[in-house]
Amino acid sequence: MAVRLQTAPFDPGAETNTFLEANAGAGAAVTFTGLVRSEPGDPVATLTLEVYPELAEAQIGRAIADAVVRFGLIKAAVIHRYGPLHPGEPIVQVMTLAPHRHAAFEGAEFLMDFLKTDAPFWKKEATSEGERWVEAKAEDDDARERWNRND
């Protein structure tokens, strides 16, 4: 399954190893792991992710299919957690397999940029001050938008 949504923690290294098992024709693999961040000056106790699962699976599945065609990937996979998470824990992992490194790097970056703006997840931070929804960032929209330009 190229898209996996789950509440449970995952082992980033074990996931990468499993992803790499069938790798005929591949010369490059990229794994990106996103972690729950907590700044020392503004510590986050819990980061809770809300998800719309049916839409997330559809959106991410389409993005993977796009990435495979666009960058000539052999395959790609996304694991995304939801529910309550704690600082330092993995939230998301994107893995790409390609004949050459540029395709693997670009495919992974494309998928991460897509996840930030087009996958139906919403982050809420709990701090000592209370709870707050994380606001969408314009720079994430810009990062996503650059893949739509013909340059």
């Binding site: 809300e50 959106q59 996840l115 139906p120 919403w122």
Partner: protein, 83 residues
């Protein structure tokens, strides 16, 4: 049709989903948002900036100009913050 709400929109409305039967003149997502706002004060306040509300018809994210007639589930939600 069923409407689902997520994140702060769900919290402000105090409900995650509801069944609604909009009148025939409600054709697009934009019409639906206006109609929902006209029904109750919480919805009016929560969606006073419609440009902040994204919409999905079943498993497709769509612009506010999209026609809602054939959708089984319509989801309304704030900009996404995944990854």
């Amino acid at each position: 049709m069923k409407i689902k709400y997520f994140a702060w929109l769900r919290e402000r409305l105090n409900r995650g989903e509801e069944e609604v039967s909009p009148p025939p003149e409600v054709v697009t997502v934009a019409d639906l948002i206006q109609w929902l706002r006209s029904r109750d004060e919480a919805a009016d306040l929560a969606m006073q900036k419609p440009q902040l509300i994204k919409a999905a018809l079943d498993t497709e994210i769509v612009p506010h100009t999209a026609a809602i007639a054939n959708a089984r589930v319509i989801a309304l939600f704030p900009p996404m913050t995944g990854g």
